[in-house]
Amino acid sequence: MRKYLRLLAIFYKNTLINELEYRLNFLSNMFLSLFWLTWAALSVRVYFFHADSIQGWTYYQTLIVMGLFFGMNGYRQMILTPNLSRISEYVRMGTLDYMLTKPVDSQFMVSLRNIGVYNWGDPLLGLGLVIFALAHLGVWPSPMQIVLFVVMLVAAAVLLYSLNLILQTTTIWLVNVERVDTLVQGLLETGRFPVNFYGGWVRAALTVIVPVAFMTTFPTQALLGRLNSSTALISVAAAIIFLIIASTFWRFALHSYTGASS
């Protein structure tokens, strides 16, 4: 365990050393993050010019969902894209071979080896937007609600990781697929708005088949005190189940990669 923490420290220290060289990149990416956040908040405003509430959600409540989406997207670009999306590259370049000959868990390497430092601000900006929206609503969540909120967020992060891992693991067989990341990004985009905005069957699909609702809508509801306990339990259960499925699938894929099943 300590070895893995030590490895993480070394990996991220190295990335930071590397990227701090490019100060201009840092600055411009920070600025871009701020731009996209403003863009997101304004684009939602356009819809609310025509109504005060949509499906029971007011502008500032919707902003909370938007802020969480921004944070989730930031997490995806910091942790998931620099790692899981490179699995097909690792296969092509022989890097996966090197990983497999080292006495370190391959799932660990493939999930946490890199970090996208340019998006470090996104989770913070997203959180900032959430706080901003709460301030405008004048409603502050109770400690219990905050705890529930954090639990839901962690469940969402684990769920997103697991889904990503499952999708990216398929690139071990379909070596030329580069658009998997786009697919995930596209699906996550639906998390910009509360899942109630979507019509009946779409909402169902986004809750059950592709659990985007878990990513942003449910944590928001936790914060606003509108989450019922069964949904919370299902979220946690789903996160754990998908994590197990994803890890198992990864091991299965490695088995296949080493030709064990052929």
Binding site: R6, G94, D97, T101, T258, A260
Partner: protein
Amino acid sequence: MSIQVESLTKHFRVHQKEPGLAGSIRSFVRRRYETVRAVDDITFEIAQGEVVGFLGPNGAGKTTTLKCLSGLLYPTSGTVQVLGYTPAKRDPDYLGQFTLVMGQRNQLMWDLPAIETFLVNQAIYDVPEAEFRETLDELVALLDLEPLLKKQVRKLSLGERMRCELAASLLHRPRMIFLDEPTLGLDITAQQAIRTFIREYNQRTNATVLLTSHYMADVTALAKRILVIEHGKLRYDGDLQALIEQRAPYRLLRLTLDHAVDSADLNALGTIESRDGLEVTLRVPRGSTRDAAARALSTLPVEDVAIEDPAVEDIIREVFEMGEVNA
């Protein structure tokens, strides 16, 4: 025996792509697969401390064999035992005892100095600080890395990079070293540096070294024993020198002539291997090469002369044509 391989076989299914646009559309609709026998029933044993060369043309199965020994590939059939472990199980204890270095494939971090990758490997292999420092100093001295350590890897030449790659892979003092085409793409000086290092390292640490190459020079410099693999089959397993002398008891005399000469005159010196205008190559028995060269210079209008060993490819091709050879 450190390495025991018995009846190792490895097959792959490969997708066939046809050329041209029509072919692309056809393979879009239905894919065709073919089975490639990369390794076909190979058996050998290697003792600790040996330096063994795997020779053979490209695609012969050398790299596949090495990958089976590293646990990267699961054999289709047959058994592999290294240091008492089954590599395919990838026991972490086993992983900490060997190293695989692939020529032209980097494990060094590109934008940072090599020393940073060394530190990462120290953490990965859990090497205690004192031992790490000692090993590092030794490797830096042997490979002459002092001036390179602080430079970014992408700024190093190919030869310098390879030396750093080797160092990175030996920091955990593995007992088993697998080198896959380590000198590929390097210039002569770099190649020689690598070979010298490997020889010294093997003598110091008694680590077993398995080396694949399609450069004869790699193998002649390092390995007493070679395994010749062609089309997945083991064609020869034994002493290198013995093979050369047995299969190629001759050397080549290359002459550049001033003007054309009668074949009879050339035949007096040796068998004509090839003749291309004024360039003649003669086969001459090993012991009498110097005499033959001297006679050529005195009796023929020779402008330039060179004495060469026959090409490995030729020796090996003859080995294949003869079928399997016993050492």
